[in-house]
Symmetry: C2
Subunit: 107 residues, 2 copies
């Protein structure tokens, strides 16, 4: 692929079960990553958009957290069912307002 | 911290010893992450710049790989000694030309 136009970061960080913060790993971060990669391929976006797994992106209690760069757009509580809308953003549409990380202090 | 102005991604992905690609984890990715966090704090940049560890960012043979967003600037073969120059970029300076990922096909 050429240098990616966009980079999507999917937190897959795991904390031990019972941790009060929870973690994106516990909430399905890896499955989200796998599904997003598949969708990008299906839509021919995989040569324009890079998707990477990360360790903690903060906001653990609002996971799974997904960040889109260079947009600096942060999504909270993303479910697999939300991914087609996020793909529309990645295809050049507007960010998905209802999934935006609330404007709370960053941990 | 408020929403970060910049996000620095440091690959710490490890492959088994002897893997022909090598890995950023093997080449000191974690130490780089730790040192960068310290430098950002020392310079009062830790409230403006977020630094995160990632799994594979590609270009394993040219690791450790560091990406700066939303600049979409990618650095290859970063050593701890290079971090002050990268901090100058993060403070608003120009990207560090000599560390830029060469324009080769993205894996």
């Amino acid at each position: 692929m050429p240098k990616p136009e966009r980079q999507v970061l999917v937190c897959v960080n795991s904390r031990p079960p019972g941790n009060p913060k929870g973690s994106c790993g516990e909430k399905g971060g890896q499955a989200l990553f796998d599904r997003l990669r598949g969708l990008l391929k299906d839509r021919g976006l995989d040569r324009r958009v890079m998707v990477n797994r990360t360790y903690c992106l903060k906001h653990c209690s609002r996971g799974p957290v997904v960040a889109v760069q260079p947009d600096n757009v942060w999504y909270a509580g993303v479910a697999e069912a939300d991914l087609p809308e996020i793909c529309a953003h990645l295809e050049g549409g507007a960010p998905v307002e209802r999934l935006l990380m609330p404007d709370i202090p960053w941990e």
